[in-house]
Symmetry: C2
Subunit: 508 residues, 2 copies
């Protein structure tokens, strides 16, 4: 029935997807405290003891040399670095508490730190899923569609590293294709794949070219951030350590993130996990400041627990929410920007995905996080980037942003005259006070369906996940690439052609 | 295939549903503030102006006489009562800030006020739904099943008024059947249907008999709470006003709750809605204290917004969350216990139902609510009591309660030795510190499925709603009525037989 289908398509595109405008969000709610000052101090002291007595392993000769040159206690044989507390304090004092990241569209500049709050796309999943095609290994076509979708959503303010895997591209050169895709299909801050220095620098070059600038310009005015994961417990892999140093040297933002799953990569108690997380994060942050004092750096907290029945990681749990808020308390001690996440462990886009994500989003907000990685699209403990979940997350994030908008109280808003004008048992539908403001008075949802049951049933009784499926298709259908001067595009294409040839020649 | 089905049943009942124990919950998080002191004062002052200048209508001669006798400005013709601020202050000072409600099982006593937090079953929906039978008008069999389910869930700590409609019972006498069902199938605090004094007193009698006590005993040691809704704007219906006075006279807890949907029953701005809500709530609370100084009373806040496109009510919105937290600020001014709710507007048990409910639960917790009506089971803007939603809510509430459990920090929990015992890049699975505590270290969910994708898919790829369906069936299959001395049961049966006869004779 092509007629019907065509009519339906027209109907959809006539209805724009409801979105909040792009907005620099400040979180007005003072962060809450779950730990007393004494408890916080005990965790802090334990983490310093870990740094002083146990040390952190860096599997990079270069990193060990840097620590050594800075006067640290380095054991070259084991790769272990011990840091004393005075030195840690001295290095932490050099890190900025707030900075900006500027993508090719300066209107999409991010301020990171203070009360600022930004949400990212998901990053890193090997798989992709949607209701139509199910779950499959990620490929470059999915990668580009996820980028387009992220660009279409105003609340997805930066692009995580590798929005999904690209198993159809060569592992040696896919960072080139992926960076150019991010730089052309979006106009937002994006992340470098910082496995080693070389890949990171390629991405810096591409960001610089997308801005019509040089690498030197980018170094003065950063535009890239990148997660450096710790191989917890207490180990930085070589490629991660070298990626970290490349980010710091070139003045781009490092997000040092221990991945401390209680029961697996750390002990099964929250204070132990936080102490270990803190030691690991501080070690990486110290390295950024040795390499380049004042380099932008973000403390990433990602402590959750495994399901002790199956050993599977769990996210958005009560323990995860506690860890997220308690981490904020620790991080504010050091005056650093804070990265949290929006994870869940559900295998499909259902009520569990929603309530676990809400635990993650609320604890990020109450913990004073500045950037929320995996803000939109994360499913299945991070193993899948879901098109429908990206819409679900965008709705939940929009709701949160609207919640964080301060309440205005003045004579007009207090509306005494309006109240006086409606008698007991009456209604306010037709009142002037109502008519003047009803169109913009309340949050208009993207995904929530507030029709009555009968209308909803008659329209097909679709649940939120089915509606999300239609919304991402509409957004992709309506996607328009953000304008990019042709010379910048050509510069990027020429750069990656040359680099691809170099890398392939070297491998041959 | 009876073999397979029977095997599956055995498998299910062998696995007990994970539950937290019954627990008196205290919320350690200081309530957050969305309004400045000046803003709060402006709303408070506007509400006093409404009480002084506009007045509140009470459609009950008895209520008007009570106000008149207390010296208030009463206009008998319009039913309007004007209250001056000094008198309001004087009456509010008489209301207790905390009290207890004792059901027939004293272990299920509730403390209401302070930092205490309890969740109720849903109340009032005309419809019932579950995945098997869909949506239908509520009947007495559903009513009893929902009571059994509520009794089976440790986090559902009291029973709301009319857990669903009982359209197969006579409207004149169903309060008798429903009260006895609540008093026999549960051992929890339950609510009276307070449409008029007579129905309310019948329920008081039944609660007293279930405790093996008299009405006089119950008056000294209350066991009932009941919502008295305001017919906003600014009107108490006759039956509600008389129900309120009956509750107060007999020393049971009144939950005075304006239902202020912005755009319909109040103006479309939050400050106006809060000012009107406050005036209405205070008027009802004042009446309880005139009737019986010191009577237990709870300020109920239920301000949300309508969808301005359709006029349909919306819940769990950003505005709802703001109203819930701001209401807490107002209520703490008066030193009264605070009732909030856990509503959502979804038409099915999906991601929307989950994220809207999470907005409601989080804002209740952050707003310092003491009791959360409609805690478990509310669907479709309150038009449906859902069996699956009751499980979903119980999971979300359990997670919240676990989140509110304070973090313990001591040497053992800091686990320095455990951390020292695992080398860089190792794992903690087999460590003594892990083995000693892993079984109870983390929250064990009721509904969340944390298996990996392959195991989950092989087990049928059920989403959270489908799993909730199995859980409520298991709980109903395993339900055992809480023990009740036979003489108390007989007393209740005799009472309602006599009352039924009286009511039917009078009607004939």
């Amino acid at each position: 029935m092509p007629r019907k289908s065509s009519r339906r398509r027209e109907g959809r595109s006539a209805n724009a997807v409801n979105q909040l405008p792009w907005r620099s969000v400040e979180n007005p709610i003072p962060p809450i405290a779950l730990l007393s000052e004494d408890q916080l101090e005990a965790i802090h002291q334990t983490s310093l003891r870990i740094l002083e007595e146990l040390g952190i392993e860096f599997m990079s000769d270069e990193a060990l040399s840097v620590f050594k040159a800075a006067g640290c206690d380095v054991d070259k044989a084991s790769g272990s670095v011990r840091l004393d507390r005075a030195f840690v304090d001295e290095m932490l004092a050099k890190a900025p508490s707030q900075f900006t990241l500027t993508p090719r569209n300066p209107e999409h500049r991010l301020t990171i730190g203070g009360k600022h709050l930004c949400f990212a796309s998901v990053s890193g999943p090997p798989n992709v899923s949607d209701l139509d095609s199910g779950r499959r290994a990620g490929n470059f076509a999915d990668f580009k569609n996820l980028l387009k979708l992220a660009q279409s959503l105003n609340v997805v303010q930066y692009i995580g590293n590798q929005i999904c895997a690209t198993t159809d591209l060569s592992p040696e050169t896919r960072h080139l294709d992926c960076s150019v895709a991010a730089a052309t299909l979006t106009d937002r801050v994006f992340s470098s794949l910082s496995i080693g220095a070389e890949r990171a620098v390629d991405t810096f070059q591409i960001m610089a070219m997308s801005r019509g600038e040089t690498l030197e310009d980018l170094e003065k005015n950063p535009g890239i951030l990148s997660v450096i994961n710790v191989n917890s417990p207490r180990r930085f892999d070589g490629a991660m350590a070298e990626g970290l140093m490349a980010l710091a040297r070139h003045g781009q933002a490092t997000v040092v993130t221990p991945f401390t799953l209680m029961g697996a990569m750390t002990a099964v108690s929250l204070p132990a996990a936080l102490a270990q997380q803190n030691a690991e994060a501080l070690a990486g942050i110290v390295l950024t400041q040795i390499v380049n004092p004042g380099a932008p750096v973000i403390y990433g907290a990602f402590t959750s627990n495994v399901d002790m029945k199956s050993g599977a990681p769990a996210f958005g749990t009560p323990e995860y929410a506690k860890a997220t808020i308690a981490s904020g308390q620790l991080i504010r001690r050091y005056g650093l920007p804070y990265r949290s996440s929006n994870p869940n462990a559900s295998n499909c886009v259902d009520a569990q995905a929603a309530y676990e994500s809400m635990m993650s989003i609320w604890s990020s907000v109450l913990g004073g996080a500045n950037i929320v990685n995996h803000g939109a699209g994360w499913l299945e403990g991070g193993l899948t980037a879901s098109f429908e979940k990206m819409i679900l997350d965008a709705e939940m994030i929009q709701g949160m942003i609207e919640f964080l908008t301060p309440i205005k109280v003045d004579e007009a808003e207090l509306g005494y005259e309006a109240i006086a004008g409606v008698g007991p048992g009456g209604h306010f539908f037709g009142e002037a006070h109502t008519l003047e403001r009803y169109e913009t008075a309340f949050y208009a949802p993207m995904l929530s369906d507030w029709r009555n049951f009968e209308s909803w049933e008659e329209a097909g009784a679709e649940d939120a996940t089915q509606r999300a499926n239609k919304i991402w298709k509409q957004l992709l259908a309506e996607y328009e690439p953000p304008p990019l001067p042709e010379d910048r595009r050509e510069a990027m294409e020429a750069y990656i052609a040359r680099r691809r040839e170099e890398i392939e020649r070297r491998a041959a």
